[in-house]
């Protein structure tokens, strides 16, 4: 379950407010897949240009789903990878050592390809900044675009998404809970009002 890291959800009293149902998540992924195809001209004529790279764990799951959807609509499957931004974070010293996620980038490398970076929730932008740094160490993409399931605002860096599933106005203390079948057994996105907010942003 991906919860953005501000606020401790275990201390919540108020019930979660559903933002996206399971069907909404499926629909949203399909819509983003269509937008990516339209904007990147990915297809049978141009099958090697696009690489979908997810940020573990939620983004990585969404990246594979996007790839499946894109393959369904175009007949060709884009290359998928994951990149763990943890080693590039700017807040490592603010807490105990974080566990690392998987990094698996395609054999062909990223040089001169179009990378669509995927995450579940866009918040402060710091995770994306770290992921961009990590990507840069693995090659020089032609361009990098960003796809997120939920944009909850409160950016702390000049970063914006190219593809947004849903824009959700939130308060700092609230958190967005993203559930995905692959990791949590069911799909859904909910807004959680945390009792207290503390800790570094996602």
């Amino acid at each position: 379950m991906a919860i953005d890291r501000r606020g401790d959800p275990r201390r919540t009293a108020a019930p979660d407010r559903e933002l996206l149902s399971a069907a909404d998540v499926t629909r949203t992924v399909a819509r983003i897949a269509h937008q990516i195809i339209e904007k990147t001209t990915f297809g049978p004529d141009n099958p090697d240009d696009l690489v979908i790279v997810g940020i573990p764990t939620g983004g990585a799951v969404l990246a594979s789903r996007l790839a499946v959807a894109i393959a369904e609509f175009t007949g060709v499957a884009p290359v998928v990878g994951t990149v763990d931004p943890t080693l590039y974070r700017d807040d490592l010293r603010r807490g105990p050592a974080r566990p690392l996620g998987d990094t698996a980038l395609p054999d062909g490398g990223l040089d001169d390809r179009l990378v669509v970076l995927v995450d579940d929730v866009l918040f402060s932008g710091r995770t994306v900044r770290a992921a961009l740094d990590a990507l840069g160490e693995h090659g020089r993409p032609r361009a990098v675009q960003l796809a997120v399931l939920v944009d909850r605002g409160h950016r702390e860096l000049p970063i914006r998404a190219d593809y947004v599933g849903k824009n959700v106005p939130t308060a700092q203390g609230e958190s967005i809970v993203v559930l995905l079948v692959e990791t949590d057994g069911r799909d859904g996105v909910a807004l959680r009002r945390a009792a207290e907010s503390a800790g570094p942003g996602s």
């Binding site: 080693l87 590039y88 490592l92 050592a97 740094d133």
Partner: protein
């Protein structure tokens, strides 16, 4: 985690956490032209070796550098140790210079433990630490006498896990000079923590007193044990620590306890041969066995870098505790 002094400080979950981190660090560096992560930028790691070492010292240094820590090597010869400075004063000096982490190898068992104790006490009393009064240096034990060598055991575990797909339930033999081997001691306890069945095969004179209390079995003749092993670890005969008549002759040792080609053929096909290095070819291991496909000796060395990166990451990347 503050220090890494002994594998007995690690429970199964934290040991597996370190091995997972090592795997992920390996992934993060795979296929890259520039093997450099920014994670430990601004941290200083001093390796302080009072005994000879190639792989441990170099791999700690490489591990630190690949994560952008500043790594500095202090050898006992060529430093003020030669002028009679005590371990206590050398440790305090390195902390005052700004060492966030001291990686120490020392011929005396317990040296790393003493240094960690001094570091904690100095921090508590507000003595000069790496980042000002009250800050403490982390200590990593890179081998203390005949006591422990935790990062070696971790890299051996990583290698076994890579090659066999897991550690729990596997039978692992440790053969040779167990008495003088900190590698054997750390491995017995770590592998047992991770659920392996450990078998020691050694000349009776080279088994430590109290081995019955270890979480392992003392095996029979090497030939009888080999067919049942998933991995076999050959230990170096530590001539430099032998001040008595432990062995009738080197020749006899090689004949009775060496892993010859004939003996290696008794191992199951999937079995892995490990050696912590440095190997004495023809003594504990035959050259052809050391170079065979079943030998993981160089994989061990490579895993050593990633395991040591993982240790430095866990000790230094997070907030000072």
């Amino acid at each position: 985690m503050r220090h890494l002094l002994s594998v007995t400080d690690l429970d199964a979950a934290s040991a597996i956490g370190l091995l997972d981190t090592a795997d992920r660090l390996k992934q993060a560096l795979l296929g890259r032209e520039v093997r450099k992560l920014p994670t430990l930028r601004g941290r200083t790691v001093v390796t302080m070796f009072y005994e000879n070492s190639t792989r441990t010292r170099v791999s700690f240094e490489v591990a630190g550098k690949w994560m952008s820590a500043d790594t500095i090597n202090v050898a006992a010869s060529g430093s003020s140790v030669g002028k009679g400075e005590s371990l206590r004063d050398t440790a305090a000096t390195l902390a005052a210079i700004g060492a966030d982490c001291i990686v120490v190898r020392h011929p005396a068992s317990g040296a790393a433990h003493r240094m960690a104790h001094w570091a904690e006490r100095d921090a508590a009393t507000g003595a000069v630490g790496p980042t000002g009064p009250g800050s403490s240096t982390s200590v990593v034990n890179a081998g203390d006498g005949t006591h422990e060598h935790p990062t070696q055991a971790l890299l051996d575990a990583a290698t076994v896990r890579d090659r066999l797909g897991g550690i729990a339930g596997r039978r692992i033999g440790i053969v040779g000079d167990v008495l003088h081997s900190r590698v054997a001691r750390s491995n017995v306890f770590l592998l047992a923590t991770l659920g392996a069945e450990v078998v020691l095969v050694a000349p009776p004179t080279l088994l430590p007193v109290g081995v019955a209390a270890w979480p392992c079995r003392v095996g029979d003749a090497l030939e009888d044990e080999l067919p049942g092993l998933d991995a076999v670890m050959m230990l170096r005969v530590q001539a430099e620590r032998m001040h008595g008549a432990f062995l009738p002759s080197a020749r006899e040792y090689a004949v009775r306890y060496g892993l010859s080609e004939r003996r290696a053929a008794l191992l199951p096909d999937h079995a892995v041969v490990l050696h912590p290095g440095p190997m004495v070819r023809g003594m504990e291991i035959a050259p052809a066995v050391a170079d065979a496909a079943s030998s993981a000796v160089l994989a061990q060395v490579q895993n050593g870098v990633h395991v040591r990166m993982a240790v430095l990451y866990h000790l230094l990347a997070g907030a000072a505790a």
